[in-house]
Symmetry: C2
Subunit: 309 residues, 2 copies
């Protein structure tokens, strides 16, 4: 197995460029069947939220896991774009004053700062809704049963038992709804597996679903997804603790200020770094169960664990 | 054709009872596959928003249009419950301080008043997401292609080209984003066809989709849905103008205070009442294209046009 680093970088960039181009096309003024209008300000806010840069890590993971099974890139790109709409909606809503009250995202004003709160709420709602419109299209997969499976898995990953539920647990851990109690490490792990992990795991499972892979391959990719999902969050918490806002492109130092429950705060930095290393090994082990060349996915795991922004 | 009024009332009540029971079951603590937790406060807020009464008009329309084609009631109930989740999410978000800032809904405190703003935002998000989880299930229809069609049509009806877009146009007409301009009657009709009409039209189209009906029947039900959707909004605007808060179960007189663009304000009450009568005729005409007994749906159209709360 090669190191895969240069190839990984090139493929991550290509995934980002192709996802941006597709989102640009999907979120155009062109009305789909049954739409009377696409109100200009709402469309502009959705585009602001969805086209504002970002590494497009989740679409990249959909593309790379799909490629293992020979899924046409166009299919995987569509599924990845739908997933990115869900990710971007969550950022818009999480940044709202009533939520995390963030002014800065990817180095730019957050959507409610660039527009206004009502527009940001509706843009998030519309992006979430749009994701399911996109996933339902023939261009994602010719087999409707596969599209339904993708839709249901995305709804579960994003809903009360996934991302939205995790955000709720996160606010609760801050003491929003009662006295603040320092959660146990296991509770933080659950919270983060829901808040951040679920969508990343979904991205990896999507390839197996699109490729109609067997249960063994699907389960290996789910394990890989869970490992890199947890690694992603730990790396994110380390960035918040150690990086400055300019490097990170968003307000940092907020977790400590808000008393956010993070594994880094609970375990300490050294233990968190050791956990990152374990998770990278776990990801590699999961990939080892697949006969295909998975060097790019291995490099992705190392990148996620080591990122600084 | 009979008057259908007593049967209509009985069937509307039965639809409400069965929808409530199903939503109660779906929104229980029981975790679905892949869900690590259903955070108690978020679940409670979702239940508060979704089980808070309401006529369940949209599920009723799904049930009745489905019954025309012999669709099993259990299938239609599931589709109706999913649609109701979308409707209830929209009420939660529309009531938020940054949106319409309403304290009262169905005679009870709105979700952000009963809980808090962050919880209300997440409960709305999670209800919207949950709708697609429910629609993707086998229990809605054995044919995945039918479920995908239902999902896509719901996403379109609720998204930028439908309900969310209509809400945006409504805020714009209030002068939120620039100088207030009195919109033309045609613009108000578009706004309301998107904001309120799209979900009601969807409810009527859902029966044809579940019943895999031919294009003629589907088109007749879509026409029926558009007519009653417009009638519903005009009746709603008349209630806001003429009813008191206790009767209506929500804050009234707000449209005039907010300078809301309504057809009643633009055309006047008499012309609005005449339009209601025309729409009831249009609905009956559309139903006339169907060979089935549609007396309950006719009664529904008259009820919608004549309702006072």
């Amino acid at each position: 197995m090669t190191d895969g680093e240069p190839e990984f970088r090139a493929r991550l960039d290509a995934a980002a460029a192709d996802t941006d181009a597709l989102l640009d096309e999907l979120l155009s003024e062109h009305r789909e069947h049954g739409e009377l209008q696409r109100p200009a300000r709402l469309l502009e806010a959705m585009r602001y939220a969805a086209l504002g840069g970002g590494k497009r890590l989740r679409p990249f993971l959909v593309l790379e896991t799909s490629a293992l099974f020979g899924v046409p890139r166009g299919h995987a790109l569509r599924a990845g774009a739908a997933l990115e709409c869900v990710h971007c909606y969550s950022l818009v809503h999480d940044d709202l004053p009533a939520m995390d009250n963030d002014d800065l995202r990817r180095g730019q004003p957050t959507t409610h700062k660039a527009f206004d709160e009502a527009t940001a709420i509706l843009a998030g709602d519309a992006l979430l809704t749009f994701a399911f419109d996109v996933l339902a299209r023939d261009e994602v997969h010719p087999n409707a049963a596969v599209r339904v499976a993708l839709i249901q898995a995305l709804a579960r990953a994003a809903g009360i038992g996934g991302m939205a539920g995790g955000q709720m647990l996160d606010l609760a851990a801050e003491g929003r709804f009662g006295p603040r109690r320092t959660p146990a490490a296991a509770d933080i792990a659950t919270l983060q597996a829901m808040k951040t992990g679920a969508l990343i795991e979904y991205a990896c499972r999507a390839g197996a679903m699109l490729g109609e892979a067997g249960t063994e391959a699907a389960s290996a990719l789910a394990r890989y997804g869970r490992a890199i999902g947890e690694a992603f969050q730990i790396a994110d918490d380390l960035i918040d603790l150690e990086s400055d806002s300019v490097t990170a492109g968003k307000t940092t130092g907020k977790d400590a200020a808000a008393g956010k429950a993070t594994l880094v705060a609970t375990l300490g930095r050294d233990a968190a770094r050791a956990r990152l290393s374990t998770l990278t090994d776990e990801a590699a082990l999961a990939l080892g169960a697949l006969p295909q060349d998975t060097s790019v996915l291995s490099a992705a795991a190392r990148f996620i664990a080591g990122r600084r922004k």
